[in-house]
Each structure stands twice: as structure tokens, then as C-alpha cells.
């Protein structure tokens, strides 16, 4: 089992997220099954950490635990240095799932401010604030349009804007582009890196796309099949800002090959 040992930008700044020996069980037809086994990880304040693993490795369970939706059976969860119990973690991170979950009866703008409405914020200022962000998200002119009239990529961007406007530093992304076709996915990844370059959030990204993980993340953790446990940690040495051309570089291929090997998808590669 690997433990992350990364040094943080400013000494003394607590990690955005740290999990210590987190395990989780769930019940299936009367049987108690171990979903996550002793997972320890931490994310620095401006770091993107990707979590890859086969289906059923408990990746999504991990995000549910961090966001406060699913109870861990043991271990501790700290957000920005503060140890929080399950219920307390609700409303401490911004969680985005594969499905955009846009409410069909709200316009794009109203969907974007959903988290603010939920927190009881004043309607007008939050809408004005969100309106200014539409340009940045490539959504200018679509403020008052219903989700049914938007393309898949645009819907996902509205969902991402809603996640950002929730106002939490820590972003939990669960296969955020998984529902998009390959071309749309690549363009959303490009867009996300450039967005992140300006506004660096700590991100925990769950994906089963190794390319997505290498291209977006500073560090990639490999989760084993159930019970999920971290079997490999890959520090991504690619420079930032990231460009799509990097996928032709030898480092990119090396990272990719090592991760695929760690996932058992290709034979062991010689360390170079």
C-alpha cells in the first residue's frame, strides 16, 4: 500500500483533503462486503489527483465518503485540516457526477445557481454573479435556455459551473466527461486544464480513462478491484500548462504504460 508523501507549496498549509486508513463496507443481500480497504491519500491545495481503477473498485464510494453521503466504517477524513464527521462533510466539497443532473425546469442560469439557492443565498446577487461566469465557461448567450435545448458538452459545462459556484475549494469529479463522446471529451479536457490553470482548485478526479488521468492530473493513484486499495502511485512529470501535444511525448507514453501495467492491462514494462 502506498502513502502519498508529497511536499506542499507552503509548509504549514494543511492538505485540501486527507484520508487516513479509510475502509468502507456495504451490505448486499444480507452479506457484508468490503468496498474500500485501508485507503490513505492526501491532496495538496492546488493539486489534481486522479483515481483510476476497474469498475467496482469503490472509486465512487470514496467520493461519496468524502462528500458526506456514505459512511466510512473506519478511518478518518480531513478537509482542509479539519477532521469532520459524516454529516458535517455535507456542504464542504463540490461534487460533480457523470450525469449532469440538470433540473429540466430550470434555465441554464438557474441551474448554475442551484447550490446558492439551496444555501438560501439572495436570488438576485447570485444570478448576477453567475451571469458573469457564463462567458468563461463558453456558455455566453445560453443563460436563459432550458437544458433540453443544450448539447451534451454544454450541459456538462453548466453542471461544472454549478459545481464551481457551490463555492467550495475542493472539487470531487466522478467521471465528469464519461457521458460525452470521444471528441467532446477531449475538448472538455482541454478546456478544463486551461480553466484550472487560472483558478487552481484541489481536485480529486475519478476516472477509468488512463489518458484522461495522465493528461489532467499531477498524480494518479491506482485502485485495485474490490476491496479497493491503492496499489500504485504515479507522479505525472508533464509540465503545466498542459497541451494536447504532450500526448506525443515519451514521458506521456511512459506514464501511460506504467499505469496500464499497474491496472494489469498490459504486461509489466521495464522501468526506464
Amino acid at each position: 500500500m502506498h502513502t502519498s508523501t508529497r511536499s506542499y507549496p507552503a509548509p504549514g498549509t494543511p492538505p485540501a483533503l486527507s484520508l487516513e486508513s479509510v475502509s468502507a463496507t456495504y451490505r448486499d443481500r444480507g452479506e457484508t462486503l468490503l468496498a474500500l480497504d485501508n485507503v490513505t491519500l492526501s491532496i495538496a491545495p492546488t493539486e489534481i489527483v486522479a483515481l483510476v481503477g476497474p469498475s467496482g473498485s469503490g472509486k465512487s464510494t470514496l467520493l461519496d465518503i468524502v462528500s458526506g453521503l456514505f459512511p466510512e466504517s473506519s478511518g478518518s477524513v480531513r478537509i482542509e485540516g479539519e477532521q469532520l464527521a459524516l454529516e458535517q462533510r455535507l456542504g464542504h466539497s463540490a461534487y460533480m457526477r457523470q450525469r449532469d443532473l440538470l433540473l429540466p425546469w430550470r434555465t441554464a442560469l438557474e441551474n448554475a445557481v442551484l447550490a446558492l439557492d439551496a444555501s438560501g443565498a439572495k436570488r438576485k446577487p447570485s444570478r448576477e454573479f453567475a451571469r458573469q461566469k457564463f462567458e468563461d465557461f463558453g456558455l455566453a448567450g445560453f443563460e436563459d435556455v432550458y437544458p433540453a435545448q443544450l448539447s451534451g458538452g454544454m450541459r456538462q459545462r453548466v453542471a461544472f459551473l454549478r459545481t464551481i459556484l457551490a463555492g467550495h475549494s475542493l472539487l470531487l469529479l466522478d467521471e465528469p466527461f464519461g457521458a460525452l463522446d470521444a471528441l467532446n471529451r477531449v475538448s472538455m479536457q482541454n478546456w478544463l486544464t486551461s480553466y484550472w490553470q487560472r483558478d487552481r482548485h484541489p481536485v480529486l478526479l475519478v476516472t477509468h480513462d488512463v489518458d484522461e488521468a495522465v493528461f489532467l492530473a499531477d498524480r494518479v493513484l491506482v485502485l485495485s478491484a474490490r476491496p479497493g486499495t491503492i496499489t500504485h502511485e504515479e507522479e505525472i512529470s508533464l509540465p503545466r500548462p498542459r497541451h494536447r501535444n504532450l500526448i506525443a511525448s515519451p514521458e506521456y507514453s511512459r506514464h501511460r504504460a506504467r499505469l496500464l501495467a499497474a491496472l494489469g492491462l498490459i504486461d509489466e514494462v521495464a522501468a526506464s
Partner: protein
């Protein structure tokens, strides 16, 4: 636009053609008036009995509107209670369903005994008829609320009230409106049925009395007013749905484009 006009024009044309055939058939066969009056006689009855028809229509409409309103409130509250907890569902749902198996024919005379000949028993019959589709559609609407969306709301720090107000209520409205449309067509039937059992005013009462006197044209006139009332109320419900749920149009348009 052209499309919509055509949608209205078509049934109107068919109805008109039907009336013309009816008129000709009655005249050719020389059917006695008391058996089947021609549409022209019914039109005459509309003109001559205007005051009588209007006064009785007003009573029936009042019964329908009040009965429906009570059913709406009771149905939505019951539906919310059933959808809110398994325990309440087990306690209430079987009773709600069983209540539907009691024939109105058997219940209406009882209501007459208890509440007399006034408006109350008609309002109760109307409300009972409307209650079930409204309660069931509320339950269905609230149950179909997307679980993942509710979880997302929790991660936003939204409490139960906010989740209910921002997600469950708007998500359940389309289903509720389906129930309302069904209930509204039943409501007229309910009110007339209540009147037939025992009344001193209302279109159902008027029809019964006119039939006893073989004033068949008047029976038909009352019948057409009732049909118009049902259609009008249905249109009103559809209009309310369109105004309250403007986003539904886009979903429907999408589906039509795909077809």
C-alpha cells in the same frame, strides 16, 4: 401555428358534419321530436330556455369547482403523506385504494340521507371521484424524483425542506397535472351523478325533469352544456400546465422532432 389551427379545425369539422347528418336523418325518417329532436330543435331550446339552463349550469359548475378544489387539497396532502414514509404508505394507501372500490351508486343515497338535498352531497361525490387520480399522481410524481439529484442537493448542504421545495415539488408537478386532467373530466360526471340521486337544482336535475316531461331537446341542450363544461375545464387545466411548466414544451418539441 398552422399545425395548431388544423388540430382544432379537424374535430370541429367532424362534429359539424355529424350534426348535419343528424339533422338530415331525423327529417328524412320523420322521427318524433320527443324521441330524437334534430340539432335545430336543440338550438332553439338553447335560445328559449337560456335563463333556465344558465341558472342550473351555474349550480353544477359551483359543485364541480368546489368538489375539485377540495379533492385537490386532500389528494395532494394524502399523496405527500404516502410518498413521505413507508409506514404512512402501508397505513393509508390500501384504504385509499379500497375507497375506490365502493360504488358511488351505493354511497350517493347515504350522502343524501346525511346531508340532504343541498349542495353538500354533490360536492362530496365530486370530491370523492376527483380525489383518487390526484392522490395517486402525486404519489407517483414524488416517487419518481431522481435519487442522485437529491443526493447532489445534500452535498450542497440543502436540508429536507430545500430539497422538497427545489427538487421534489417541481419534479412531481407534471405527474400531478396528469392526475388533474383525469380528475377534471371525472368531476362533471360526479356532480351530475350527485344531482341525479336527489336534487332541487343543477343540470342533472334539469335533465331528469325534462326527460320525465319528454322535453328531449332540453335534455340534449343540458347535455351539451355539460360536455362543454368538461372540455372547457380540461382546456383550462392544460393552459395552467403550460403556464406553470413552460419548460415542458421543449421536451415535447424534442420528441416531436425525433419522430
Amino acid at each position: 401555428m398552422k399545425h395548431r389551427l388544423l388540430r382544432w379545425l379537424l374535430p370541429v369539422c367532424i362534429l359539424l358534419a355529424g350534426f348535419i347528418c343528424w339533422e338530415i336523418a331525423v327529417r328524412v325518417a320523420d322521427t318524433p321530436r320527443w324521441m330524437l329532436p334534430p340539432p335545430s330543435a336543440i338550438l332553439r331550446s338553447f335560445r328559449d330556455d337560456r335563463a333556465l339552463l344558465l341558472a342550473n349550469a351555474r349550480v353544477t359548475l359551483l359543485e364541480v369547482v368546489l368538489g375539485f378544489a377540495y379533492a385537490l387539497v386532500a389528494g395532494v396532502l394524502t399523496g405527500m403523506a404516502i410518498a413521505s414514509s413507508r409506514l404512512l404508505e402501508r397505513a393509508i394507501y390500501p384504504i385509499v385504494i379500497a375507497s375506490q372500490t365502493i360504488p358511488m351508486v351505493a354511497l350517493a343515497p347515504l350522502l343524501l340521507i346525511w346531508f340532504g338535498y343541498g349542495l353538500t352531497p354533490k360536492i362530496i361525490v365530486t370530491a370523492l371521484v376527483c380525489f383518487f387520480p390526484i392522490a395517486v399522481s402525486t404519489v407517483d410524481g414524488l416517487r419518481a424524483v431522481d435519487r442522485e439529484t437529491l443526493q447532489m442537493m445534500r452535498t450542497f448542504g440543502a436540508g429536507p425542506w430545500m430539497r422538497f421545495r427545489l427538487v421534489s415539488v417541481p419534479a412531481a408537478l407534471p405527474s400531478l397535472f396528469s392526475g388533474i386532467r383525469i380528475a377534471i373530466t371525472f368531476s362533471v360526471i360526479g356532480a351530475v351523478f350527485g344531482e341525479l340521486v336527489g336534487a332541487s337544482e343543477g343540470l342533472g336535475y334539469l335533465m331528469q325533469r325534462a326527460a320525465a316531461q319528454f322535453q328531449t331537446a332540453r335534455v340534449f341542450a343540458a347535455l351539451f352544456i355539460l360536455a362543454g363544461m368538461g372540455v372547457g375545464l380540461f382546456a383550462l387545466a392544460t393552459l395552467a400546465e403550460r403556464l406553470l411548466l413552460p419548460w415542458r414544451r421543449f421536451l415535447i418539441e424534442d420528441r416531436e422532432n425525433e419522430e
